[in-house]
C-alpha cells in the first residue's frame, strides 16, 4: 500500500491551514483512512514523512483515537455505544444480536469483509438510546428487530 497522489495533495492542502504541517496529523490520517480503510505501518510512515514527524510520533496519535484504525477493518464498521444510558436501555442485547447474526465477536470482522464490530463511547444521543453507528450513519432507538431491518437494508450477509 502506498499513498496516492490525490491523498498526498489532500494532506498538503490540510497542512497549509496550520502553522506547522504536523498539526494536520488527524486530518491526514482521516484522508488516508477514507480511501484505504485503515492505517498500515507503511502508510503511517509515508504520512509521517509528509508532515515532518517521526513515525513513532504519528503512531502515538494514531493509536490514541477511537476512530483511527491501525488494523484492517470491514467495509463498514459497526460502532455500538456501550456508555451508561445505552447500557441501561439494551446495548448489550443489541451487541449479542449482532454477534449472533454476523457470527463475529467484538473486535472481529465478518468473513466477507463487510462488517467489523466495535464498541464506542457515548455517541451524544442518549435521549434516543440505544444508539449505534454503521459506517457514517447513526441509528437511534435500536433494538434487535430494528437491527434486522437496518442490516437488511445495508446488505448483510
Amino acid at each position: 500500500m502506498t499513498l496516492t497522489s490525490d491523498e498526498i495533495q489532500a494532506i498538503l492542502r490540510e497542512a497549509r491551514h496550520f502553522p506547522h504541517p504536523s498539526a494536520a496529523a488527524i486530518e491526514a490520517l482521516n484522508v488516508v483512512q477514507r480511501s484505504h480503510g485503515w492505517i498500515s505501518d507503511e502508510l503511517l510512515q509515508e504520512i509521517a514523512e509528509l508532515l515532518g514527524m517521526s513515525p513513532a510520533e504519528l503512531d502515538s496519535i494514531a493509536t490514541f483515537y477511537n476512530l483511527i484504525y491501525r488494523r484492517p477493518v470491514g467495509r463498514r464498521v459497526i460502532h455500538y455505544c456501550n456508555s451508561v444510558s445505552c447500557w441501561m436501555l439494551g446495548a448489550e442485547d443489541n451487541r449479542r444480536h449482532l454477534s449472533e447474526k454476523l457470527g463475529i465477536a467484538v473486535g472481529e470482522t465478518t468473513g466477507n469483509g463487510e462488517y467489523t464490530l466495535l464498541p464506542i463511547v457515548c455517541l451524544g444521543a442518549c435521549d434516543k438510546a440505544p444508539v449505534l453507528m454503521i459506517g457514517d450513519e447513526t441509528h437511534f432507538n435500536v433494538d434487535p428487530a430494528r437491527l434486522d431491518d437496518i442490516l437488511g437494508e445495508t446488505g448483510a450477509p
Partner: protein, 427 residues
C-alpha cells in the same frame, strides 16, 4: 417563556438555513456588536451578564476572556476555539445546537473572537458528529459568501477565518488544554497550568476555548442586553439552560428552560415522568462525572450554586436517571469502565487508579469481593480526587463512585453476601 437558543430549532430535525436565520433576526447581535461596541465593551457586557461556561465547569465567560492580553502590545495572533467535543456520557445538548442551528454558533464565534480580537477560530468537533460536521461546513461556506466571515466582516475592520476540525474520538480532548494539544497534532495529554491558554494556548498564542452552548448565548446577550438576559432565569444565575434527561422516562429529550428549573419539573413535566413499573432511585444531574443525587433533591433548582450546595455539580445539565430496577453498583462499573478507557494515561493516579477501581467493582459483582474492598474504593476516591491528578478526568470519575458509596451502600454490601442469600433485587 423565552427560549433564545432553541427558538429556531425545528422539530423535524432539519437545519435552519441562512435565509431563515436572517429572517428571524439572526446576525443582528453581530451587526450591533461591530457597529456599537469596542472589544472591551463586549467583554464587559458578557461579564455583566453573568454568563457561565456551559461545558461543565461553569467558569464565568467574561472573566475567562479578561485574561487575554489586549491592546497594541498584545500578540498579533490569537485564537478562539470552539469546544464541540461533546463526549461525556449522558450529554447530548451541543449536538442539538450544532445540527439544529449552526449559524447561531457561527454568530457567537464571531462575537467572541471580536471581543478578544482573535482572527483565527477553530471548531473542534467530535468525529462521530457527521451530520453536525456537514451542516456546519455548509453554514461556514454560506457565511463566508455573505461576508459574515472572512475579510472585513459586514464592512467592519474585523476579519475572522473559521475552520472546522473534526476529531477522531477521545473524551480527554474535551479538557481544554488536551484539546489544544490535539489541535496541534500532538497526543492529547492535558498541559500543566500555568501558563493558562488565555496567555499561551494554541501554538503558544493567547487562546480562548469556549463550549458550543456558551457561544450560542452571545448573539442574544449582545442583541437584547444584560437585563433581558438576567430576566430569563428563575434564580440568581442568569439565562436559560439546555437540560436533558436520559434513562427510563417516557419521553427522554433536551429542553431549553429557565436556569434554575427544578429536576422534578424537568423529569415530570418535560420528560413525561418515569416509565410504568419504574421508580426513580437517584440521578446524575449533569452527566457521568457528577455526584448522584436522590429523589429528595428533586426540588432543588438546577443551577450551579444550588446543585453544588447539594453535593453535586450542574455539569452539562444533562441528567442520567437511575431507576429502581437498575443496580447502582453495575451502573457505576459502567461509568468507571468508560473513564478507565478514556484516561490519557499521563498521570499515575488516573492511569492506574481507574483500572484498579474497575477491577474492584468487577470482583464485587462477580462474587469475589472482600469486606475491605469498600474501604479501598473509598480510599481511591480520595487518591484520585481533586489535587492529586493532572486534570479533572479522574476526580470527575470519582464523583459518581463516592456518592454511590454514600447513598447506595446497601447495594454494595449486598454483593459481599453469599450469592444464595442475596435475593434477586435487579434483573
Amino acid at each position: 417563556m423565552d427560549k433564545p437558543l432553541t427558538r429556531n430549532i425545528k422539530s423535524d430535525g432539519s437545519t435552519v438555513t441562512l435565509a431563515e436565520y436572517l429572517a428571524s433576526g439572526g446576525y443582528e447581535g453581530l451587526k450591533k456588536t461591530l457597529a456599537e461596541f469596542a472589544p472591551l465593551d463586549v467583554q464587559q457586557r458578557v461579564k455583566d451578564s453573568g454568563l457561565r461556561g456551559r461545558g461543565g465547569a461553569g467558569f464565568p465567560t467574561g472573566l475567562k476572556w479578561s485574561f487575554v492580553p489586549m491592546g497594541e502590545d498584545a500578540p498579533r495572533t490569537k485564537y478562539l476555539v470552539v469546544n464541540g467535543d461533546e463526549m461525556e456520557p449522558g450529554a447530548f445538548k451541543d449536538r442539538l445546537l450544532l445540527e439544529g442551528d449552526p449559524h447561531q454558533l457561527i454568530e457567537g464565534v464571531v462575537i467572541a473572537a471580536y471581543a478578544i480580537q482573535a482572527n483565527i477560530a477553530y471548531v473542534f468537533l467530535r468525529g462521530e458528529y457527521r451530520l453536525a460536521a456537514a451542516r456546519l461546513r455548509q453554514a461556514i461556506a454560506e457565511a463566508e459568501a455573505q461576508g459574515l466571515l472572512g475579510e472585513g466582516i459586514l464592512g467592519s475592520g474585523f476579519s475572522l477565518d473559521l475552520r472546522l476540525h473534526t476529531s477522531a474520538g477521545r473524551y480527554i480532548c474535551g479538557e481544554e488544554t488536551a484539546l489544544l494539544n490535539s489541535l496541534e497534532g500532538k497526543r492529547a495529554n492535558p498541559r500543566a497550568k500555568p501558563p493558562f491558554p488565555q496567555v499561551s494556548g494554541l501554538f503558544g498564542k493567547p487562546t480562548i476555548v469556549n463550549n458550543v452552548e456558551t457561544l450560542c448565548n452571545l448573539p442574544h446577550i449582545l442583541r437584547n442586553g444584560v437585563e433581558w438576559y438576567k430576566g430569563l432565569s428563575r434564580t440568581g444565575e442568569p439565562g436559560t439552560k439546555i437540560y436533558g434527561v436520559s434513562g427510563r422516562v417516557r419521553s427522554p429529550g433536551a429542553w431549553e428552560l429557565p436556569m434554575g428549573t427544578t429536576a422534578r419539573e424537568i423529569i415530570e413535566e418535560h420528560a413525561g415522568g418515569m416509565r410504568d413499573g419504574y421508580r426513580l432511585k437517584g440521578y446524575l444531574p449533569g452527566g457521568a462525572s457528577t455526584d448522584f443525587l436522590l429523589p429528595e433533591h428533586l426540588d432543588i433548582p438546577m443551577d450551579y450554586g444550588s446543585i453544588g450546595k447539594a453535593g453535586s455539580r450542574l455539569g452539562t445539565g444533562t441528567m442520567i436517571l437511575l431507576d429502581d430496577k437498575t443496580c447502582p453498583v453495575q451502573m457505576v462499573l459502567n461509568l468507571e469502565r468508560f473513564f478507565a478507557q478514556e484516561s490519557c494515561g499521563w498521570c499515575t493516579p488516573c492511569r492506574d487508579g481507574l483500572p484498579w477501581t474497575v477491577s474492584l467493582l468487577e470482583g464485587l459483582i462477580e462474587g469475589r469481593g472482600r469486606p475491605e474492598d469498600l474501604a479501598t474504593l473509598e480510599r481511591l476516591c480520595g487518591l484520585l480526587g481533586p489535587g492529586n491528578t493532572f486534570c479533572a478526568l479522574a476526580p470527575g470519575a470519582m464523583e459518581p463512585l463516592q456518592s454511590a458509596l454514600k447513598y447506595f451502600r446497601a447495594d454494595f454490601e449486598r454483593y459481599l453476601q453469599p450469592q444464595t442469600t442475596r435475593g434477586g433485587m435487579y434483573a
